[in-house]
Symmetry: C2
Subunit: 123 residues, 2 copies
Amino acid sequence: MERSTRQRQAIREVLLELDRPLSPQEVLDAAQSKVPGLGIATVYRTLKGLVEEGAAVAVELPGNPPRYEPSGKTHHHHFHCTACGKVFELEGGCTSDFSAMAPPGFQTQGHEIVLYGRCADCR
Amino acid sequence: MERSTRQRQAIREVLLELDRPLSPQEVLDAAQSKVPGLGIATVYRTLKGLVEEGAAVAVELPGNPPRYEPSGKTHHHHFHCTACGKVFELEGGCTSDFSAMAPPGFQTQGHEIVLYGRCADCR
DNA sequence: TCAATAATGATAAATCATTATCATTTTGTC
DNA sequence: GACAAAATGATAATGATTTATCATTATTGA
């Protein structure tokens, strides 16, 4: 049986409210303002559960442990701030035909684009 | 003093010959056919040295430890085979203006593109 | 309200990649 | 060839993230 707890609610809310891919630690920091005393273990457990039930997806970026965002978003890419380390979601789809970039005989199934730079707050 | 050893030669050769970003383990596997008994520690040490002297660069891909390729290549991107796990270099530069994808106020400094799919051998 | 039990939080343990240690081997110089 | 020192290889140690454990707490259905 799955129970509704303040901790899980807070973690779900944080993912929706901050609206960018969050590391487990970022989730903890944000959710602790809603639920003081929240532990990191609960964050990991809950994120894992959310992914399993399809409510969240893991976002893998180069050189970093996975971050998490709500599922159901349209195809999009990410901006990784080299100063504060935050990852932001990019609006707008991709128009380029990336399949053409693959060598002959290769079958392209998907792609990932990451922009690096400074976010508005860090400039 | 820096000495020329069979191990370092083999590792350098492997990076040049295979011509794709290699994980330390891939380097070990390939170089052991040239130098039986080669140890993983030497691979890590040598790769680190090659990066420090500018002869190789680390390639970071989502969800994977860094891979290594010779430095000096022109700007390029990578193809990650979802079947065998090998990473390949893509020919051809990128024409799109990725800076335009960033939100207002963001400063884009660079980008990374990774295609996912099946390589010619795995289809 | 109560009992059953799922969930939590603190922390120990597990993982995995990478680095440090050190006795031994190999390289470069005289 | 001999010597000094760098390099190697085996493996222990490290660091960082994630998971397991377990006593305690909180939720849910009766």
